[in-house]
């Protein structure tokens, strides 16, 4: 049995978690795999300001920091922001994959330039920051939004007819005006649009969530994991303190 922890970056209820779990249907996974979707204890409810980004780092870090001790073989972070990834890598020796950097790198196996399709305008600064920090400015054709306020629980459910064609039109501008050879869905919350876009666009479409599951499979198969000298362990871990902090945060939200 291989157990994969998928950290969902919002404190969602059961229904919201189910919408995230649906991502695993897009790819065949080994028979003996168990994907465990775990929401964060507490965290932001929007994702468009440094306030949100910082809280989400902490929230995802806390949700996954005991994954190795809990018997998980790998961790996937269900957000293109890669929030919490580097912190988790500093305390875990199992593979930890965020959807953001990995999907941009994977896009470059499929073409020379990628564009990121973002949900709405307030999301754009975060992508631009990440792309600059990863050093992918030269490989990124553009980041464009289809101007739809995000719903982190229902995702795109019920809005397909209205939103999917708009996503396609914006992606076509990325391709025709900006020179994108590959489209990266800007969020794992867009997974429901992946098949539609793949069928209606002339370039490959990377659906980041399912990709992370397959990448984990590769890393486990090849015995690869992040180098710990890049992500060194803390001199004095304070994970118990972290749990106490986030539990208090959750209580404050009730």
């Amino acid at each position: 049995m291989t157990r994969i922890l998928v950290i969902v970056p919002f404190a969602l209820d059961e229904e919201g978690i189910k919408n995230r779990e649906a991502q695993s249907r897009y790819v065949p996974l080994p028979q003996d795999w168990q994907l465990v979707y775990r929401p964060v204890t507490c965290g932001p409810t929007s994702f468009m300001s440094p306030h949100d980004w910082g809280l989400m780092d902490l929230a995802i870090f806390e949700a996954g920091c005991e994954a190795e001790a809990q018997g998980f073989d790998a961790v996937c972070i269900d957000t293109m922001s890669d929030s919490g990834m580097v912190m988790l890598r500093s305390v875990l020796s199992i593979p930890v994959i965020g959807a953001g950097k990995a999907s941009m790198l994977y896009a470059l196996t499929l073409g020379s330039k990628f564009s990121v399709l973002a949900q709405w305008e307030p999301a754009l600064p975060r992508y631009r920051k990440a792309i600059r920090e990863y050093g992918f400015d030269r490989q990124c054709a553009s980041v464009r939004s289809f101007d739809q306020p995000p719903d982190f629980s229902n995702l795109l459910g019920g809005k397909e007819d209205q939103v999917f064609p708009r996503m396609r039109d914006v992606a076509m501008r990325c391709i025709e005006d900006d020179g994108a050879d590959v489209i990266c869905l800007g969020s794992t919350t867009m997974h429901q649009a992946g098949e539609y876009l793949a069928a209606h666009l002339p370039v490959p479409v990377v659906n980041p969530g399912p990709l992370t599951y397959k990448l984990v499979e590769t890393f486990l198969a090849l015995g690869l994991r992040h180098g710990r000298d890049v992500y060194p362990a803390p001199v004095e871990p304070r994970l118990e303190m972290l749990h106490a902090m986030m539990a208090a945060g959750a209580r404050a939200e009730q």
Partner: protein, 257 residues
Amino acid sequence: MKKVMVIVPFAMGEDDLARRKTQLDAVDLGPGLEFHFKPVRVGPKNYSSQHDMALADFSILDAGLDAEKDGFDAICIDTMSDSGMAMLRSVLTIPVIAPGRHSMLLAQMLGEKFSILMMWDRWKMLYTKTLGELGMEHKCASMRSIGITPDNKTLLSGKEDEVFPLLLAAAKTCVEQDGAQVLILGSTTMHEAHAWLSARIGVPVINPGPLTYQLASIALDLNLTHSKRTWPAPLAPKHDMIRAIGAAGAAFLEGRS
């Protein structure tokens, strides 16, 4: 059952081919994928100069040209030079996975900077080309060679005692002096050193051949293939001419042997 063609970049007999095939032992891809190793029929003696690289590109194009028509679902190219990848991607719609580009991108999922370990300095041009195409020169901490002439048929067998410690010493320099956080074996012909080196160096080491098999599996599972905007199809494909050139080259080599 899906079929993957692994193009081996040198013409060789069964014994030598078997040493290439042992790369498959590094991964378990389950019963759904079948790998067929196919050596090229023409090409250079080794990869030592731009002269060789031109022949290598052609030889791999020639070997894979009909793969899609012949029922293959994907191609892996068994050389870090990525020879023939661009040409094959322009004429095929099935995934064509080459280890150079892919291992440099995968390395960045494991750390920020990578170094490439090579047998001899003559391989440097291979990686420089791919880094340039990717626009990622700044991600490569170093390329270090152990100054041993490679043998693309017998690989490292019989030379373990000589070669493995040299690789470890070079790897340590990459990590300690150059700042590499991930290492990439500079050739699929170095796969026999992977397990030994990985156990001793303390940073992830990418074994490029088996990586391509995994990535072929990912591409097939996700139904993804390369973008035709990066590798556009020719307006006037010359498949017959390519086959004729390949056959003539093979006949020339045959007549010489």
